[in-house]
Structure formats: C-alpha cells, structure tokens
Symmetry: none
Subunit: 232 residues, 2 copies
C-alpha cells in the first residue's frame, strides 16, 4: 500500500496532538509530532516528509511563519493548516503561502482523514498513474473488476458482469469464508433456491477460469459458503 507516507505534525496542544497522531497512525501513516514551530522546522530538516500538518497558533513560531520557512526549502510539499477559527484573513494568508488545505477545529475525523488521503494521492501522481482501477492479484492472475477482465500471463478473458461481481466479492474476502446468503443478497438482491443454484453454476465457471494456477482454489464450506484461497 501507498500508506507508508511520512507526515510531520506540528501541534502545541498535547491532547489534540496525540489524538491526531493516533488517527493518522491507525491509517498506516508514519507520523512525527513536534510541539512548536521551532522544533517543527528542525524536524523537517531531519527527514523527507510527504505532508506537513501545521497548527496556526503556536508558541515560539506560528504555523504561517513555519510554513514560509518550509516553503523556502521545499516549494511543493503539501501543507495543511489547522486553525481554531475560520477567520477569512487566516485562510487567505494560508492560501497565499500555498496551503493545500485548511481545516478548522473542531473537525470531523473522517473528513480530516479523507482530506489527508486526497492530498497525498494528488501528490503521488506517478504511483497512482494506474488510474486507480481496482485490480486484484489472485495467484498468477490479475483481475480488473472495473473492466471485467481476468488476465493470466498473456491471455485475457472478458468476464460477464455477474461473474465479475462474484469474483470481486471473493477477492475482497480472500482466505475468509463468504456465506452463500451474503453472495446471494449482494449480487442478486435476494436469496432463494434458484438463486443458490445459479450461484453454484457461477462458482463452477470461476473455478474453470482460475484453473491455470493450481495454487488457487475456491473452497466450499458445506452449508455455509465459499472461500477463495491462494497457497504460497
């Protein structure tokens, strides 16, 4: 995953600082927390970061001042400002320096994380150049669920919509049991005898399609459901 991004967080309030740090760490980011602008700048010089999140109001050196210094060193690193109020002057000043985003406290953590994610994604254009289509690696196969294609070496098979939907579910649950009932409701929107039988037909097809790699198996758990397994 591209989640190993390194983030420098500069926030003087200990409580808020730790909360934000945790939020980000849970998402898999590497986070370094510093408590004022001066320390923040020193830390920034120590390592290469992908993103800086700066509190505006801080002792020693405020967020804008820090941001200007950071910009002198790195003109392109994404910056997010945190501010207590939504003062327009603050916002404009931040944008002038080149903020990529601007978040007012208190903030919604889900929104905050989405913004961080969006900004990191934007700055990682080379890595994301694959157009973010959902491609699953299944053994030696690549399954593109958006384009309904299943590739094995040089061969590419066009799957149907339903085949794709089912395979996608299986991929998302690799090594976990997927209950028949779940598949039925997700794909057909209801669960009945014939839906079940139809599902079995699809499972047979998918097994056939995936047959070239013997490490792959769609295992039946009697009376419960199926499990996609890939041995290594």
């Amino acid at each position: 995953m591209s989640n190993s991004a390194k983030i420098l967080l500069v926030e003087d309030d200990d409580n808020l600082g730790f909360v934000i740090q945790d939020l980000l760490k849970v998402e898999g980011y590497k986070v370094h927390l510093r408590k004022d602008g001066k320390e923040g700048l020193m830390q920034f010089n120590q390592e290469d970061y992908d993103l800086c999140i700066l509190d505006v109001m801080m002792p020693k050196k405020d967020g804008f001042s820090l941001a200007r210094d950071i910009r002198k060193i790195n003109a392109h690193i994404p910056l997010i400002f945190l501010t207590a109020k939504s003062m327009t002057e603050d916002r404009v000043e931040g944008l002038r320096i080149g903020a990529d985003d601007y978040i007012t406290k208190p903030f919604d953590s889900e929104e905050f994380l989405l913004r961080v994610k969006a900004i990191l994604k934007r700055s990682q254009k080379e890595e994301e150049s694959t157009d973010s289509s959902a491609v699953y690696e299944v053994g030696a196969y690549q399954f593109d669920s958006d384009n309904f294609t299943l590739k094995y070496q040089s061969e590419e098979r066009q799957l149907t919509k339903k085949e794709s939907e089912i395979l996608k579910l299986l991929c998302q649950h690799t090594d976990k049991v997927l209950e028949r009932e779940i598949i039925a409701n997700m794909v057909w929107g209801d669960d009945s005898y014939f839906v079940g039988r139809s599902m079995d037909v699809f499972i047979t097809k998918l097994r056939k399609y995936l047959g070239s790699d013997p490490r792959i198996s769609i295992v039946n758990i009697h009376g419960v459901g199926f499990k996609l397994q890939v041995e290594d």
Copy 2:
C-alpha cells in the same frame, strides 16, 4: 501562459452564476456557464476543461452526481464544489468523489480566486505531459476529434458530430469499459430506450468505419457498455 485555463462552471442560480463567471473572466480565464447537471455534463463532453466548479444543489442532476460522471471520463480533472451550507456529510461525500476543494456560500471572492489559482497551478505540471492535441491514434487510423476526421492511409472520412463524440469517448477510454449509461448521458443528455438503440446504430457505423484495421475492435460487454480495443 497560465491564465488561458478553461473552466466549466455549473450553477443553477443565474445571479450567482454570472457573478462567479465575471470574477473568473476578469482574471483571464475562459469560463463556460451551464445551468444544471445535465447541461453541464453535455458541455463537459464538448471541450477539454482544466477545472470544473460545480454547485452541489441543482435541478436535473446534482453536483455530486455530475461529478461522478465527470470522474468516469476524466479521473484527474480538478473539481471544486460550491455548497450553501457547510454540512459535514456533504463535505465528506465530495471528498470521496475526489473534490480538490470545497467552498461554502457565501464566500470571500479573494479567497475563492486564490483557491482556483492554486488548484490550476497544481494541475499544470501534469498537463504538460498530457497531450493537448485532439488527434487520437487508433491502430492505423488517426482520428481528429476537433475536425471530425478519420484518416486511414490516404483516405480521409468526414465524421458527423455525434459519430465524433462517441468515438472520442471511446478513444479516451481505450481498453476500458465505457458504460452505455455514460455514453447516453454524455452525448444525448439522457438515457432511454431509443437513445440506447440509436447508440447501437452508431456503434455499427463506427465499426464499419474502423474496419480496415483488423486489430481494432469495439467490444460489447453485455448489459454494461463498450470497450475500444487495439491489439498489438
């Protein structure tokens, strides 16, 4: 130069729409204003834009819905949403779609322009790599979508506008599935039985036009859409 950026503005309120349009025009941007999501989508299909500014609340098709359709055609174009309130759910939804910014009405015009400028500046680097020429290479054909011409060796065929629009969409999605619904909404502005049938007629025509190069195929994905493929 940077200021010739083309902006698509979709805003149903006439007054606000004109105000924003003027603001942007004064800055030297080329701005096209449309009044609802449906018209916005069709206009988006007509030209290449550098930025879209979308009102969230609109008749016919709201800003989010429009944004999702736009994203399917162009995964990277910057999007700015305008919203009356700062509803958190709205913000989160917007970010999920991939908003680059989010502006609540009423807004400060200076801030607004700075944001627009910042976003355009950011996306400019990527543009350099993007070929701005409207000529697509399709196998042994050259398709000039601006001039509606399709060349094969020495022969040049004049396409109609609709033929061009559809072929352009297909070209932009080479090797990817293009949903019928998207084509219908992009080209016709609505999706109905007869639009679908008309589309099939066009597909037949395009297949005929492209028939000289056997490596080219417009593949149908049953119940989903079409995919332009060029084997190598």
